[in-house]
């Protein structure tokens, strides 16, 4: 049906997202594409759907080579994609969304009857139980997804790409989706199913291609491979980092205490489900997990960015609920945010101005009203040197720097307050090896100096080599907790991350 041969894609910033990936689809199969975040699944699908052009490799459709330059191109070749973020117009009806861009006309006007009957027809043909007259903003997520699928089918998709379709669904909706996917398969459609969830793949997929670090780890018949084997192929440790890690010297004081933390997001979905833990000075608590299992919400609550939580969080014995973000920071808490451009820096301000956004209030850098520019400049130069930030001057705008150097600016800023508690969320994501190594060494140095560190990371190698205790988040809970990190195998970790194994009792999560 379709072959993608030796696809290589290098992004403008030099990141090799796909190096020599091949994928082969058979007509009428559900083919899983499996891999961690950043493994290159999305890039591969973007290439197939015409959003990105590959640097090397070829695509054969029914044996004939094709070039796919745009999504329109892909659609006309019979390829449809359901994005993770739905491409729907909320105030339009389901029918209008389905026919958008290929609208049936009667004179000048939209032929509403025809549009309705076409939309209803396609829904009926595939057994989708949808009221096409409803507005998209009024329907639940599960139905929105069905609309997306119908949109693709209406445009004649034979190959359907579903990007983590179950991530946003309830178990019931997921079951329903699976029934429909199987029906589609029976009608001869080919489905690419992107997922982390091994049990789902076991349930409905025929074959699976596993990706890791931009490479394909092979294609397997799902019936012939165990979930354990899959998780090993997907997670498997590449190189182990060599650190001279000192023995953990715990201080007596619990610096961060969390009890019964429960958070719902703005749509009312439960994101953190009754979590409790402690962190003492002198240790690194690693938090692993597939993205979207509550890590972001946890960090937001701990740092005061989100106050809408139930339960209790205290920093150095102080309840942080009534405190402002500035007051929480004044408790000597540093935060390396997940998304460095969105909330970690002001791209259009200079390095200098970015280096003291968390400490301009301190008497060292400002008087009652005025900033002490001399002190700030001296400090900026020191930090630029100490953290080896490569730039033309301290006046250069942060946005002009490379990703690794931007991250160094953020880390320099957060570490320069000599914090007692560090919350590091993906501190080395997407940066060069040297900068990553440097940041990890710093984290360890802070731990040795008696600082409490929480490290949230998708990089398991990093988690393994830095953590003293390790929690695995799955669906807003700790699905696993390890105090003896050195003796945890990656298979075991992978099984907890993917929800195959769940710890009933979490030993050592609190100090009491």
């Amino acid at each position: 049906m379709l072959q993608m041969n030796h696809i290589m894609k290098i992004y403008g910033n030099g990141v090799v997202a796909n190096e020599d990936v091949s994928l082969e689809l058979r007509r009428g199969e559900i083919h899983a594409l499996l891999g961690e975040n950043g493994a290159g699944k999305s890039t591969l699908m973007k290439v197939l759907f015409g959003i990105e052009m590959p640097d090397q490799g070829e695509i054969l459709l029914k044996g004939a080579p094709v070039t796919i330059r745009s999504p329109q191109n892909a659609i006309s070749l019979g390829i449809g994609m359901v994005h993770q973020h739905f491409m729907l117009v909320p105030s339009l009806t389901v029918a209008e969304n389905i026919i958008l861009g290929v609208t049936p006309k009667k004179g000048l006007f939209i032929d509403r009857d025809k549009a309705l009957s076409a939309a209803e027809g396609i829904a009926r043909e595939y057994n989708f139980d949808i009221d096409v007259r409803q507005r998209v903003e009024e329907i639940p997520v599960g139905i929105k997804q069905k609309v997306e699928i119908l949109k693709a089918l209406y445009r004649g998709a034979e190959i359907l790409i579903l990007d983590e379709p179950t991530a946003v669904l309830t178990p019931q909706e997921t079951d329903e989706l699976f029934v429909q996917l199987v029906q589609l398969k029976k009608k001869g459609h080919t489905i690419i199913f992107i997922s982390h969830k091994l049990d789902e793949i076991k349930k409905i997929c025929d074959r699976a291609t596993i990706m890791r670090n931009g490479r394909s780890m092979g294609t397997y018949e799902v019936a012939d491979i165990t979930t354990q084997e899959m998780s090993k192929l997907m997670v498997g440790r590449e190189v182990s980092l060599q650190f001279e890690k000192n023995a953990c010297r715990l201080s007596d004081q619990v610096l961060l205490r969390v009890r019964n933390l429960t958070v719902h997001n703005s749509q009312g979905v439960l994101k953190i489900d009754d979590i409790s833990f402690d962190v003492k000075g002198g240790e690194i608590l690693g938090i692993a997990g597939v993205e979207g299992n509550g890590q972001t919400e946890l960090v937001d609550a701990l740092t005061g960015l989100n106050k809408k939580y139930r339960g209790e969080i205290s920093v150095k014995g102080k309840d942080i609920r009534p405190l402002s973000i500035a007051q929480i920071r004044d408790l000597s808490l540093a935060h390396i945010p997940e998304d460095r451009m969105a909330s970690g820096c002001a791209g259009n301000l200079s390095i200098r101005e970015n280096l003291f956004s968390n400490q301009y209030r301190s008497p060292e850098f400002s008087g009652k009203q005025f900033l002490k520019m001399k002190a700030i400049e001296r400090r900026s130069d020191e930090l630029i040197q100490e953290y080896k930030i490569k730039c033309s001057s301290r006046r250069q705008n942060v946005a002009m720097l490379s990703g690794g150097n931007i991250q160094k600016v953020i880390v320099a800023r957060e570490f320069s307050t000599d914090p007692d508690i560090i919350i590091a969320n993906q501190p080395t994501r997407g940066i060069d090896v040297g900068a990553a190594e440097f940041i990890r060494q710093r984290l360890l140095a802070f731990r040795d100096a008696g600082c409490a560190v929480i490290l949230v990371s998708a990089d398991l190698t990093e988690i393994f080599s830095l953590s003293d205790r390790l929690a695995v988040m799955y669906k807003g809970k700790f699905a696993g907790f390890f105090t003896d990190v050195a003796n945890v195998s990656e298979e075991e970790l992978g099984q907890h991350m993917l929800g195959i194994k769940k710890a009933e009792v979490l030993e050592g999560v609190v100090y009491e």
Binding site: H83, E96, L100, G101, V102, L108, I110, R155, S266
Partner: protein, 306 residues
């Protein structure tokens, strides 16, 4: 006072004052539906008020004058689209520029055309006619309200209907709404958002120019310097209060008409000084904006709190 409010004059003055705002509000609405804040409506109206006078006097026909003015209005929308979409100038600053050019440009053109400064007294323009409807005229109350309105008032009401049909019944209207709400979704099904926004801005300019034409060729029959006096800005507010829909825009514009007509009565009965009357539309907008957005905000909070 109640007598005055219940008089036909009240309703006919409501329609009269609502007309230019309605045109501009429709213009603001269609631009907003395509995802663009068109603050240049003010300048486009001002230019059009002058062009209306000039072209109706050159052609000695109100209709030809209106036609040419509306075409130029569409052209101004096109220029705005080029500046914003191709040159990538911030849409607010582009509008500031166009509005400034309108303030100066109208005077320059007026001077060049007739030698008049300030008021176009020497230009012999032709105003759009009143529509007297033979039989309805006879009906006691309603006759006086409905008959004798300027033809542009009727055109404005017609425009509401046409625009409503256009936005909600035609493929192009559907595309406009899709682009404004979710550009990525529209582009993912092969709609060119730039093309759609060009079309929306051209229509926006054309509608606003009809409102401008009414100012100098209906409401009054000459051009005076700065005569749009913020109506383009009011239209922005009115449109957003009406949910950027044609019918919503009509209702809010009528509300302005009511406020203005009410203020006129207050003035007639010397209950309120003249300057306060002039303030009415702006104050109404300010309060309306606050109330509208506050209820929207509460509604959203309720929805997400569930």
């Amino acid at each position: 006072m109640w007598e005055a409010i219940l008089s036909p004059d009240f309703f006919s003055s409501m329609l009269r004052t609502a007309t230019p705002i309605l045109f501009a509000t429709l213009g603001a609405g269609i631009a907003a539906k395509a995802g663009i804040t068109n603050m240049a409506l003010e300048g486009i109206m001002l230019f059009s008020a002058l062009f209306g006078v000039i072209f109706s006097s050159l052609t000695q026909s109100a209709w030809l004058g209106l036609l040419i003015t509306v075409v130029i209005g569409g052209l101004m929308g096109l220029i705005l689209a080029f500046i914003v979409l191709n040159l990538k100038t911030d849409e607010i600053l582009a509008a500031v520029a166009i509005n400034l050019m309108a303030t100066g440009g109208t005077v320059l053109i007026m001077v060049a055309f007739s030698g008049d400064r300030g008021v176009s007294s020497s230009i012999r323009s032709v105003s759009a006619p009143m529509v007297v409807i033979p039989f309805i005229e006879q009906i006691p109350f309603i006759g006086k309200v409905i008959s004798g309105q300027n033809v542009l008032t009727w055109l404005a009401l017609l425009a509401v209907l046409v625009l409503h049909l256009f936005l909600y019944r035609t493929p192009l209207g559907l595309s406009i709404r899709a682009v404004g709400e979710n550009k990525n979704a529209a582009e993912s099904v092969g709609i060119s958002s730039r093309r759609i926004q060009y079309i929306a801005l051209i229509l926006s300019g054309a509608l606003a120019s009809a409102g401008g034409f009414y100012l100098s060729g209906g409401y009054m029959n000459m051009f005076t310097k700065d005569m749009s006096s913020g109506r383009g800005f009011i239209a922005l507010a009115a449109s957003s209060m009406g949910g950027n829909t044609p019918v919503g825009g009509l209702l809010v514009s009528l509300l302005f008409g009511v406020a203005q007509a009410f203020a006129n009565i207050m003035q007639l009965l010397s209950l309120m000084p003249y300057e306060i009357i002039l303030m009415v539309p702006y104050l109404t907008t300010l309060v309306g904006l606050g109330v509208y957005y506050y209820t929207q905000k509460k509604r959203k909070e309720r929805l997400s709190g569930k």
